[in-house]
């Protein structure tokens, strides 16, 4: 009797990639680090981030200054740690603005009476046709420069995409057999909305929110880099990036290091979001 075993390497590989617990562990570790630097920056960087040491200006990374110093001799490591709070605030703020707006616009487009829904639909489409960054630039130009306007600008800039998503989610839940079943049970519109439509439409947005935080920070940094973000003395990462641009040729660390930190944060948020999404989906299926 012969035995033939069919292995499926491709499938097996895919399964391990989906699980990969170490990415989650790393992401959680980094989240903890970012959380501490946002809440208690003095624990990680006791020095004043704005203290000037003109004698050691533009020092390369080394034992004295872990990540080097800028043109005024300010320690880059301290500035990055102390810049976490404003950067994260803008990221979270922008995501909140974006999702709140998306919920309102998407909800109206899916649930409001036909004329209202049609107007909202067109509005979202018009907003959608602008590139996000352009929309954000426009808002900063209108509202003036500050951390708050930056968050609003980025939030509004990225909202149309999410609004479309919310609308689609609500529509698909609204047409589902379980909502129909609830109608036949004699439940009121508001009860069905509260009990079935909103929770099921919003649930996938939890993961989207985590993804959106990472994305918003990148957008906010781009605005700062263009000089339209938070004013220079702030240690917000986009602002650091912008300030370092002038010295790119002889002090690379001023640009590369904040850039890398932004990338790491965005990756961390994205990884958490992905894991959240798969665990939610696993509960679904």
């Amino acid at each position: 009797m012969t035995t033939v075993t069919t292995a499926a390497p491709a499938l097996a590989r895919r399964r391990t990639r989906a699980a990969r617990p170490w990415t989650l562990a790393l992401a959680l570790l980094l989240t903890a680090w970012f959380a501490v630097s946002a809440l208690w920056p003095h624990l990680l960087a006791p020095d004043d981030p704005l203290a000037l040491h003109l004698d050691s200006a533009l020092a390369a990374p080394g034992p004295h200054h872990l990540l080097g110093t800028d043109e005024a001799g300010r320690d880059l490591y301290s500035r990055i740690v102390h810049g976490t709070a404003p950067s994260l605030a803008i990221g979270f703020g922008a995501s909140l603005v974006s999702l709140a707006l998306a919920l309102v616009l998407g909800g109206l487009a899916a649930l409001a009476a036909r004329p209202v829904a049609a107007v909202v639909d067109r509005l979202v489409e018009v907003l959608f046709s602008f590139p996000s960054l352009l929309l954000a630039l426009l808002l900063v130009a209108l509202l003036g420069q500050s951390a708050l306007t930056e968050a609003i600008a980025v939030g509004v800039g990225t909202a149309p995409g999410y609004a479309r998503m919310v609308r689609g989610q609500i529509l698909s839940v609204k047409g589902s057999p379980y909502v129909e079943a609830a109608v036949t049970l004699g439940h009121s519109r508001t009860r069905i909305l509260r009990q079935h439509v909103l929770p099921n439409a919003v649930r996938p947005l939890v993961a989207v929110f985590a993804l959106s935080v990472g994305q918003s920070i990148v957008w906010a940094s781009s605005l700062s880099f263009l000089g339209l973000g938070v004013a220079p003395p702030s240690s917000e990462w986009g602002a650091l990036l912008d300030a370092g641009r002038l010295y790119l040729t002889h002090a690379w660390w001023l640009t590369i290091v904040p850039g890398l930190v932004i990338v790491v944060l965005a990756l961390t948020a994205t990884t958490l979001g992905k894991h959240l999404q798969t665990s939610l989906e696993r509960n679904d299926r």
């Binding site: 009797m1 033939v4 499926a8 057999p177 129909e180 079943a181 009121s188």
Partner: protein, 594 residues
Amino acid sequence: MSRTEDVLADATPTLTTTPAAQAGTDQRAGAGPAGVPRFRVAGLGVGFTRAGTQRQVVEDLSFDLFPGQCVAIVGESGSGKSVTARTLVGLTGAGSTVTAQTLEFEGRDVRRFSGRDWLRTRGAKIGFVLQDALVSLDPLRPVGAEIDEALRLHGWGSRHSRARKVVELLDSVGVPSPRLRAAQRSGELSGGLRQRALIASALALDPDVVIADEPTTALDVTVQAQVLDLLAQTKRRGVSILLISHDLSVVARLADQILVMRGGRVVERGTAQQVLTDPQHDYTRALIAAVPGEHTRGTRLVPPVDGAEPAPVPAPRAAPAEPVLEARGLVKRFPVAGGLRRTAVDDVSFALHRGRTLGIVGESGSGKSTTARLVLALTAPDAGEVTLLGEAWSTVPEPRRRARRSSIAVVQQDPLSSFDPRWDVERILLDSLPAGHGDRAVRARRVRELLEQVGLGEEVLPRSPLRLSGGQRQRVAIARALGSEPSVLVLDEAVSALDVSVQAQVLDLLADLQERLGLSYLFISHDLGVIHHVSDEVLVMKDGRVVERGSADDVFLRPREAYTQELVGSLPRLADARRDTTTTTLTSTTGETR
């Protein structure tokens, strides 16, 4: 979706190793046909290893498939029949272990086939017909191109001769205006035409063997009859057919040999006539008894387990009292492309009396589900009216209807999608209780009572419907429908997705509930046997209109209209095994285009 789960669940009890020796001495019943068997299978075992545990899904399966013969493997979900079919063509799947004494195709051991051997064999020598042609055919390519590819891959002829062959093939499987159809995509064809196109591509290279895995399960009865006739013709040309089906009556129409599988093992085998008319094994008997139809009216489909008590036959139902639900001249139109309106429901009237069952039967697109939605006031009719318990129903505004919705409830076809995915069974049932139904303890007691009514235990309460079997899910759906103590239950294809033995249990349950609670059923199904079994009166619908109505026996045994006669005539019956299948001819293909 739940199919794989079922496979694993049902296969658990058979977790043993393949007994090797005895299969060789196996007597193959009725080994009549001349010639060398195309497939020789002896002692086949298939196991899957998942997460480190080995599960045996097929054990000790043996059969020979002779030229011009049809061997059918019958069984319910998880019996291992589809895995067997896939194993024969080397597509068992990931993590599988195949063992056998003999596993030969035309004298060669298929386990020694190389990839190249398979490429030469699949399609050319073995054709495969799967259940759902819609997913088996590429939606973006014309069906002609699909068939052409089968020919091209095996280096058949020039481009021109292939084009001719494609048209010829489509013509030979009874596709009208084949030249036109070859240029259409699968989405533009009706279910029957798609299935025929798939059969045409399976037959393209004149294979010796066709493996048909549930080839008619997704089809309406009249189309099913056409496809079965087509396969019978193919068989007469000397092609061997391995037919996989859960439906004994489909098998009866085509098979010479039948293997009944359960939990990966063959529990009974023999000629079609032996198995269907004189079944030896209890399971086969139960399967045959579970098929609803004319002979099962007024009886239980599942005999009591201990056999001590005779199956109670419900007393003849009381003479019709006042109608609980009435529809008068219902019309519903839907806009279609080009500013036109399609009439989905056209002048439909009926009355449903207390404690009785009104069956609506029709093929897909006949308007029966739209009728259900109109009755449930989920959509408003364009003309006509529905009254419920003698009061206006479809014409009153929804807020006024809401309080009265407790008197009419629905059980949908797919229970899983009818439950909020976040909820467990307890939440689903609590939610179904009408407002102001006592305090917490009273509600909890009522939920347990509902579960008991549908024959489920309390242990399902904290579970998500995802973790329940198909039959349990449908029971939960029925319990939810009963939550508001309705007088009318609309059952929209409520048993269509279930295995025949589970379907039998649910039908018995519905009969019990009707008797105990005095419910009236509006029972909608495409399955003539089910409708005949449950209904007092029957409406036959076609293209939105009622073509025939009357008592169940009148409609099914003495149909007056040509369409009803065609429907009833298309219905495969267990008794077909006694008939010579070679006398059936390809039925008319008109009215099949879309």
